[in-house]
Subunit: 312 residues, 2 copies
Amino acid sequence: MKYYPVHSGYPPYATVNQAIEAAFAEHGRGNVQMPPKVYVTFVQTGDFRTMPAYLPALEIAGVKIVNVHPDNRARGLPTVMALTVIIDVETGTPEAIVNATELTAMRTGAAGAIAARHLSPRRSVTLGVIGTGRQAEALVEATAATLTIEKILAWSRTEKSAEAFAARYAEYDAQAVSIERASDCDVLLTTTPSTKPLVMADWIHEGTHINAIGADAPGKQELDPALLLMAEVFVDDPGQAIHSGEVNVPISTGLYDSGRIAGTLGEVVIGKKGRSSPDAITIFDSTGLAIQDLAIAALVARKEEGYELPFP
Amino acid sequence: MKYYPVHSGYPPYATVNQAIEAAFAEHGRGNVQMPPKVYVTFVQTGDFRTMPAYLPALEIAGVKIVNVHPDNRARGLPTVMALTVIIDVETGTPEAIVNATELTAMRTGAAGAIAARHLSPRRSVTLGVIGTGRQAEALVEATAATLTIEKILAWSRTEKSAEAFAARYAEYDAQAVSIERASDCDVLLTTTPSTKPLVMADWIHEGTHINAIGADAPGKQELDPALLLMAEVFVDDPGQAIHSGEVNVPISTGLYDSGRIAGTLGEVVIGKKGRSSPDAITIFDSTGLAIQDLAIAALVARKEEGYELPFP
C-alpha cells in the first residue's frame, strides 16, 4: 500500500481531462457502480461525505472521503480536504491512499472542460467567469487544455479578487467586469456558493454554454430559473443533481420539472445526447461524482512516487 | 495525519471491551450517526463495504473500508482486509489511517464478550464453540477478559481444526467434541459461514446465551429457526440484522417476524433491555457496526506510534 501526498506536481490537464472523460463515458454506458454519496453531519463544525465507486472497464475501485468545514479558513486549513482510497479489484487490498484535496478541484475543472468541449458550438471562446476562487482557476486551466480561450471576462463579489484573477490570466486577455458583462460570453463558468440566482436569463445570448458548478448542496443556486427553462440542461448524475445541484431549488419550489433534464454528461460524451442546435443555450449542472475522484486518483497513483506503507 | 500499521502489538481485551461497550452505550442512547453500510460488488472477485459513522459524545468520526474476497487465501492474502480512516470532528482533517484487518476480528470478539457479560445469567461459564477460526479465537479471548471460562467445548466441520483449537486453549480445559455436545453449554459462540441451520433447538438448555456471529450477509444462518422462536433475540442494529444477520433468512421465509426482536445490544448495555428471567435462552445476533470499528481504531491511534504522513 502506498500513500501519495501529491507533493511532486500534478498531472497536466490534457491527461486529467482524458481520464475524466473516460470515466464519464463509462457512466454514459451505464457501466459503473456508484452508490449515492453518504453524508455524516457534525454537531457544529461541518460534515463529511463518503463516495464509493467502481469502474469495471477501467479496473478502478475505491472511496473518496471529503469534508466541508466552513470555519477552517480561520484556522489556516482548507475548507474542503479529501482523501481517496483505491482498492485493488482482484484482491480487495487497499493499494493507494491519495491526498485528494487539490485533485478535487482539478477533477471538477476537467468535467467542466469536457462539458464545454462537447456542448459549446465554438472551439475558440470568450470565457465568462462568475466567482474567482480555486474552482474558477481549475476550470480555466482545464478548459485551456481543450478549447482556445480568446478572452476572459471575470466577475467576483469582491472586486479585488476579480482583478487579481484577471492579472493571473493576462495571457488570455482577462478583464474584471460587471456580472452582466461577464455573462455575455460563449462559455460561462459559475462557481459561487450562492443560494440566490445571480445570473439572469436575459443576459445570456444564444449558443452560450454554461457550466453551473457552485450548487453542490440543497438550497444552493446561481442561475435564474427562467434560464433553466430556456436552456437544455445536462447533469452529471440525475439523483445527485436533483438532490443538490443547480436544479435542486427550482425543482423543490416547482419552477423546474426534473423530467426536462436533457441527459447526462456521460451520454453527451458517448454521443447519445447533445445540444439540439447551434443556437440553443446549454447548461452542465455539476455536483461532482465519485467516478471522477477515482479516475484522477488512479492517474496520480500510477504516475508518481508514493510512500510505501506496510499492509496488510 | 498518521498511519498505524498495528505492528507494535494490540491493546488488551480489557481495554478493547471497555471501548466497544462505550460505543454500544452511545448507540443505545440513540446518540450516534451511522448510515447503512454501502456495498460495492466486483464482477467476479468479491466486494467492498464502506462504513461511515460518528459518535458525538466520544468525539470520534470516520469510515471503515473492508473487502471480502473469498479466493484470497489461495494467493496468501486474508479474505477480509480493512482500513479505518479517522476524521477530526473539529476540522474534518483525516487524522489517522489504521490497518483494521486484525481489529475487525477483535471488535467482533469484544461485542460478543459484552453481550455474554450482560445477557448470560452466569459469571463462570462453559463455552461452546461452533466453528474454530479467527473469530472464535477473538471471542474466546475477549470473553476471558470479562467472564471466567471453566471449560471450552469446541466443534468444527474439520476435526483437526477443532483439535488444534482445543490444544491452543488448554488453559481453559478445551476439548474437541460433537456439535450437539458443544451446544450443551452456558455461552455458545457460532462463527461459521453456514447457509443452513447447524445448531438445533432441542440441544440448547435453559439459561444459555448464544452469540450468533457467522451470519453477516443475506442467505447466511447458523441456528434452527425454532431456536429463534424460543429465545429472546437481541441485535446490534435492527436494519443490518434484518438485511444480513442471523434473523435474515427466517424473516425472508416468514418463519420469524422482525417484531419479535427483543432489543439492541446498546439498549442492553444501558440497562433499558435485558433477559426476562434466568431460564430464558438469549441470542445476540451480531452483524458488525461501524461504531465498533471507530471505537477500536481510535484506541489504537491514541495509544500507538504511527508513521507521520504529510497532509494536507
